[in-house]
Symmetry: C2
Amino acid sequence: MRNPLLAPDLREIVADRDEACLREFFRDHHPADAAELLDDLEADEVFFVLQLMSGRERAAIFDYLDEPLQEGVAERMDDHDLAALVTYMSHDERAGLMTRLPQERSDRIYPLLARAEREDIRRLQSYAEGTTGAVMTSDYATVPADETAAAAIERLRHEAPDRETIYYCYVVDDNRRLKGFVSLKNLILAPPYRRVSEVMKTDFVRAYVDDDAESTAKKLAEYDLLAIPVCDRDDHLVGIVTHDDVIDLIVEEATEDVHRLGGVGPLEHAYLETPFVTLWLNRAVWLSVLFVAGFLTTWALKNFEDDFERIPALVLFIPLIISAGGNCGSQSATLITRALALGELTPKDWLRVLGHEILMGTSLGLALGFVGFLRALLTSSDGTAGASWSMFALTIGLAVSVVVVCGNLVGAMMPLILKRLGFDPALMSNPAVSSLVDVTGIVTYFAIAQAILL
Amino acid sequence: MRNPLLAPDLREIVADRDEACLREFFRDHHPADAAELLDDLEADEVFFVLQLMSGRERAAIFDYLDEPLQEGVAERMDDHDLAALVTYMSHDERAGLMTRLPQERSDRIYPLLARAEREDIRRLQSYAEGTTGAVMTSDYATVPADETAAAAIERLRHEAPDRETIYYCYVVDDNRRLKGFVSLKNLILAPPYRRVSEVMKTDFVRAYVDDDAESTAKKLAEYDLLAIPVCDRDDHLVGIVTHDDVIDLIVEEATEDVHRLGGVGPLEHAYLETPFVTLWLNRAVWLSVLFVAGFLTTWALKNFEDDFERIPALVLFIPLIISAGGNCGSQSATLITRALALGELTPKDWLRVLGHEILMGTSLGLALGFVGFLRALLTSSDGTAGASWSMFALTIGLAVSVVVVCGNLVGAMMPLILKRLGFDPALMSNPAVSSLVDVTGIVTYFAIAQAILL
């Protein structure tokens, strides 16, 4: 989506301090486009450009800037400008920004904000990461139950510029308890004199501040909603989560799952924006865990040292056999983990999954084992210590089959077990499945070889 | 989200043919909830329940049913009922259903539909899978440019029940060329006598029927839109893609990427709903490709048979060394593949990625190599053919470091190369990275061993 060609032009215009041209340049751009162009500039340049705009325009573009750039620009603004910017920003974005500012800076900004804004930011900041409260916005519209549809529309018209959406609005009682929901569509369809209480829905989907943000996102997606109201545990309306935030959440969640499956812990920023040391630590932790677990393969092989000294040909097939098991396990782990993430499966389905995967693993194992048998027949080696070459090939074929069946089951069952124990099933990454299967694969392979060849 | 507890109750009520109770049961449910409850029943039972409802209600619930169930229920309906259902269904869903019906059935249904509906379905069916045309709906609202804001709102009020959304509407000329866009919010904010042409935007985001559906989804997400208009190449408005379809697209796309990375080809249905043979073939193809590629490891080891016959201790560390490289490669492949999918990187960034990953791989490799060196020091084996044990440990440490650096680079560069060549970068699955690294790892390991120990 980036348009890197435009960045140098823009940079030149900024360098020339050509204010008229810059105003012209940004007048017709959607704030998202403007932010995308600005994302390629330095904080100094962006600061200069934003200074030329009105408060509202500036905040609309600022909302869309990358986080590090937001921080760089905020650093260059004086306290009063920053306070004005915070006032105009969208409620969820500004709570995030205030959290990321250095403590002593935010301490100076808070007193400059209106009391309502200050309390709003504090409240949004108070919810734990990953909860619905932490992703909601407090920019929602409410209408009184006893107002007429026409009066309610008139009210929305006045509030429109300050609300995240006016297409959905909510009805609360005197204690701000959520009582009803009415869409602008239903208000428009209703006869003008009809009261809100007569057209509002009282049975509708809601979320709670301490609900997992991901499950709230799924709810919104399932019911095809534009927004979902968020209540505290006493049913007071405290915010809404909108469809655009849900899209962001779903993308983030998918990224986290992909990373976990690949053996990388969740990252907060984009690949190129993550500091080297953060990324190094993240990767090193997982690699080390897997590496130390891999010591088991050395230990396992040590126990069979006599066997492969006697029949060196056995060594030739070690990587082939253990990687066949690992690959099959990666496949089943991926399928089950994704099905769990999508809600297609729950740990209660374990018996069904077990049956399915025993059948699947066996049929895949037989197929691969047969190919392995043929491959071994076509090799020749002197190192079979007198055992016939066809018996050796049979050993390989059988070992491939059994290791594939086991690998497949390990990959399928581990995510279910992790989920049941309350962990993220994606912790059972593909590399972790491979490591686990490597050890069992070696033991299985040599046990079969001992039985047939020795 | 499933509520399996309710299914048996519902099944009993259906078995009792208790029509009053069923009507009561479904009256207050959102169609999405109703469909979720029905998804656990057999097609016969669902058919019976849907027969009790009015045409519109029936279609609203049917839209949300799982595809196999939709087909089962359609099979049980007579032609006239099915034609009525198709007329009421949402435009994108019904085009999908008509495509999935057996040819001779759809041939009987088409003549029963109004000409406009028939043409609409044919048009939506004509777009290739994966394009924006194939996911759009033709249920959009238009307003004339010379109408006043008040008249336009009045028009939307009349059209509301038949349109996917009335919150966004579009202005077309006499040839249906897309000229403008106006949101209901802007219509409401405008003075009632102001003309649509004065309040509409003429510079706004649009997509084209043959655009990749995924890129259209990204566009909608980037601009936080409720819907995006879709034009043919002559700028005639032919449909819209709505925010709820975009969420589905993003989830599907993420599932495809996750599956590919795990070495599974894209699946059309959910894990438990995919026929066994389809899933078997899908998995067997990838496993076989990787298995045959794995023959290279046997061939590579065969070349070093003399070496490990002389120094059997070398064998002990084969799995540990090659899996360290594979794991590191899986990590970098995952990071780069996901960054490409999110648009954070393009193949043009290859030099930057190369520099980053050389540094990253080296620092990870040195750390793991040091741990490997210590581990090897602590082992003891007689099979070193006279070489000193510390030289042996040095061999292991060095081999781990070099293999990790190489594995990391293979994992990072392959997705960029695949993308550059026009393939899906996720084709470089974690198992494929491991297989590739296995071979290079074995060769590297024994080359280092020969240099130091022999």
